[in-house]
Amino acid sequence: MVTNKFSLNPENWVQDQGDYLYNFAYSRVLSATLAEDLVQETFLAAYTARENFKGNSSERTWLTAILKNKIIDHFRKADTRKQKYSLDADLPFKRDGIMKDHWEKDRAPQTWIIDETVSLDNPEFVTVLQRCLSNLPEKWAIVFSQKVVEDRKTDDICKDLNISASNLWVILHRCRLKLRECLEIKWFKNE
């Protein structure tokens, strides 16, 4: 009987590494269902490649490396160029008239009350933030996550996702408008 030097019980992986990997994936894809799928795929791939696992101290690092590759593969499959920019009708600005492209009155930013409930330590707030992030079109979310969450260089993102810098800026603009409005409606307006 072959003895391995570490425990490869799948239950341990899910319990010990599941939340960490899920957070990692979620922060990069901004979708709960997609993050779950990627973590699932990671565990399966890791099990298949378990012979390559060297020691307990690097188990998390090893699993994370597999997850990183899964995320990269996912990004490569998504073609960000095909995502159409939201029609101007989706934007919170007036479409015509003398005040064209100024804020639509009903959709203009209101005053936000920032208190201790507005925190990542507050599960209710995190739930709302998650919901708003998941409203971002998937291909935009990728760009948004790489720039805003991962803080990657613009040139690197453009090269990897095959978009121009001006595409990137427009996508970020649209994402920020959408996100801000969603949070205001779902959190700050209900104060």
Binding site: L44, H102, W112, L120, V149, W169, L172
Partner: protein, 106 residues
Amino acid sequence: MSSKKRKYGPLSKMVQSMMNCKEATYLISRQLDDKLPLSVKAALASHLMMCPRCRRFKKQTKIIYSLLLQFQKKTFQGVPIVTLTPDQKDRMVKNLRNNIDPGKTF
């Protein structure tokens, strides 16, 4: 004048005429990740002086920006912000088990 080849083509148009909120919010967003030329910065600043809604947009966008950076920092430090539900965990364990060859020992 809508040449996409010039890096700041559309931006210089914003400087020349009165900036609107769509342009201003674009610049506010861009300014978080990129350097704006001085003339554009100045034009944005004067729009902000006159537009409380765009001032709010700027403040709120910065708040969201900092929250997302925190998210990434905490994730990097292994602090969970989102967690798998027991159901999700059960599902994962089941899927793993289904894929393990029952004949193998380990």
